[in-house]
Amino acid sequence: MTLVVGAFTMGLILSLLALGVLISFRILRFCDITVDGSITLGASATAVLLVAGVPPWPATLGGFAAGMAAGFVTGILHTHFKIEELLSGILVMTALYSVNLRVMGKSNVPMLDSGSISDWAEALLRKMYGADKIGVLGWPVPVRDLAMLLTVAALVAAIGILLNIFLRTNLGTAVRAAGENPQMIRAQGVDNRWMQVWGIAVSNGLVGLSGAVLAQYQGFADVQMGIGMMVWGLASIIIGEALIGKKARSPGMMIIGAMMGTVLFRLLIAIALRWGLNPNDLKLVTAAFVFAALVIPHMAGKLGRKIMKGSSNA
């Protein structure tokens, strides 16, 4: 059961990352690789703030803001300095590696004694049950883990709802249109470049937030923790799209899909690890999965057409 709770918590935390990737990749159609750096930035900023004694929620918000700043830079590089989207992401990501080391002062910041956003939930649970472990479906689960799960679930739900509302406002529809058809949105009097900049900023803010929560959950921030996160988020989105079906492209369904996809993906990984998958192979498996998800539908389509042709010829 610890495994399931862990996978769920991890999945929910990473679904914030997935939402960020959803905004850049699917809504803005911007292949933003800053993610790998900004998740670490969010984590390190929060860790340093917590260690310095800042209360958990403001520290978490700091992680969000740091992520946003990183995204903002990427957006400006692309829209105002005409640097290709991939390259502007790579530039910021590379720079962030040094920035993160500077922020943390070393490659790893443990925060064993610092507070976390789940403290109030933990206190509440202890007051209600008065035990270190609580039985969930007959399995004992540590209060601390359960508190984290509940807090993260509430946070993710709130963010999902806010995001859904935002995407349906006048500004939100303009952002979506700017991603899908810049020409069209310019003709409607919107400066699509700023839509893109703010979109990428919010996207990386969510990624930073994800890093901030992840650091608190893991109890440390590490300069290496961001590697491969964009692909991870992408994999989650693809699974989510498979779950909700291709046709449902309304913002709400996309958000729910991304969340469900992340949790499911995390569960699958947990199971695979349990069955003996070498953790070192994890990134390879993830990349292979994304590759397969991108290529197989295309090949299947081709194959399908070929079969159709063959049968009509016969």
């Binding site: 349906r168 006048n170 500004l171 529809t173 249109a177 899908e180 020409q183 949105i185 003709a187 409607q188």
Partner: protein, 270 residues
């Protein structure tokens, strides 16, 4: 309403791909005038429309719209005064967003966009009311994705979106060229209806001589980045497709009349 003064644009200057797209074009469109620009391929007809829309800034020359010098305004800022329909039916709408969402974007063309909800019951009702006259049955499908519509339907909606808020100038860039003949005719009729009803000032690029003769009040003919003919008033009234063909022929013959021809024929004309 629209005044273009000696606008020059050269793409890729100083490279082997240099294109002198506009070589000093000037035209003046009165308020309520519907003009068509025709011309051979590469004559600069679409480029002049894009110059007005602000897709690029001119090398020299000025563009005035409703008395304001918009020459250095970026494209999105000009959109507050200009409605546009593109040649590609997919260019004017966002395919994955719903019909209603697309339209609501055009309902705030050039206005600030805040955090108010884009669609509410009143807005949806207004959208239904205004797309009902298209007789395409779209009023019952406003939550369907734009991408599920045909090119003709999308172009009709783009036209409606471009004129939802009355633009000071409507720009139509070969907006029926990519449609099948029946849809093209429908969209052309709709164009004329809307322009006449709203008394719009409009500039339409077209490759169809037939359309140039039937729809607008004025025909501007371009060749090699210059305005070579400007047919309006009573002369427009008697202009037929054959006259336009002749005009093109004259332009082509003029091109063939080079220095060596002049040396040959001038002594023989005495």
């Amino acid at each position: 309403m629209l005044e273009i003064n000696n606008v020059v644009k050269t793409f890729n200057p100083g490279t082997p791909n240099e294109v002198r797209a506009l070589r000093g074009i000037s035209m003046k469109l009165e308020e309520g005038c519907f003009a068509a620009i025709i011309g051979t391929n590469g004559s600069g007809k679409s480029t002049s429309l894009n110059a007005v829309a602000g897709s690029f800034l001119p090398d020299s020359g000025t563009i005035l719209l409703d008395g304001q010098d918009i020459s250095n305004w970026p494209e999105y800022r000009r959109a507050s005064m200009i409605g546009r329909v593109f040649q590609n039916p997919f260019a004017g709408t966002a395919a994955e967003m719903s019909i209603a969402e697309n339209i609501v974007l055009s309902m705030r063309r050039g206005m600030s966009r805040g955090l108010g909800m884009a669609l509410n019951r009143r807005v949806r009702e207004e959208i239904r009311e205004r797309i009902r006259p298209l007789n395409m049955g779209l009023e019952n499908r406003i939550d369907n994705a734009m991408g599920s519509l045909s090119g003709g339907q999308r172009q009709a909606l783009t036209l409606l979106m471009a004129t939802w808020l009355r633009p000071k100038l409507l720009l139509l860039d070969e907006h029926t060229a990519a449609l099948d003949p029946k849809s093209a005719a429908q969209v052309a009729t709709l164009t004329k209806e809307i322009i006449e009803r709203e008394k719009l000032t409009a500039l339409m690029v077209t490759h169809s001589m037939q359309q140039a003769v039937q729809l607008p009040q004025r025909i501007i003919m371009m060749h090699k980045g210059q305005v070579v003919e400007d047919i309006h008033g009573v002369r427009k009234a008697r202009t037929q497709v054959a006259d336009l063909m002749n005009a093109f022929d004259r332009v082509r013959r003029r091109d063939l009349f080079d220095q060596s021809v002049a040396e040959q024929v001038l002594p023989q004309y005495a």
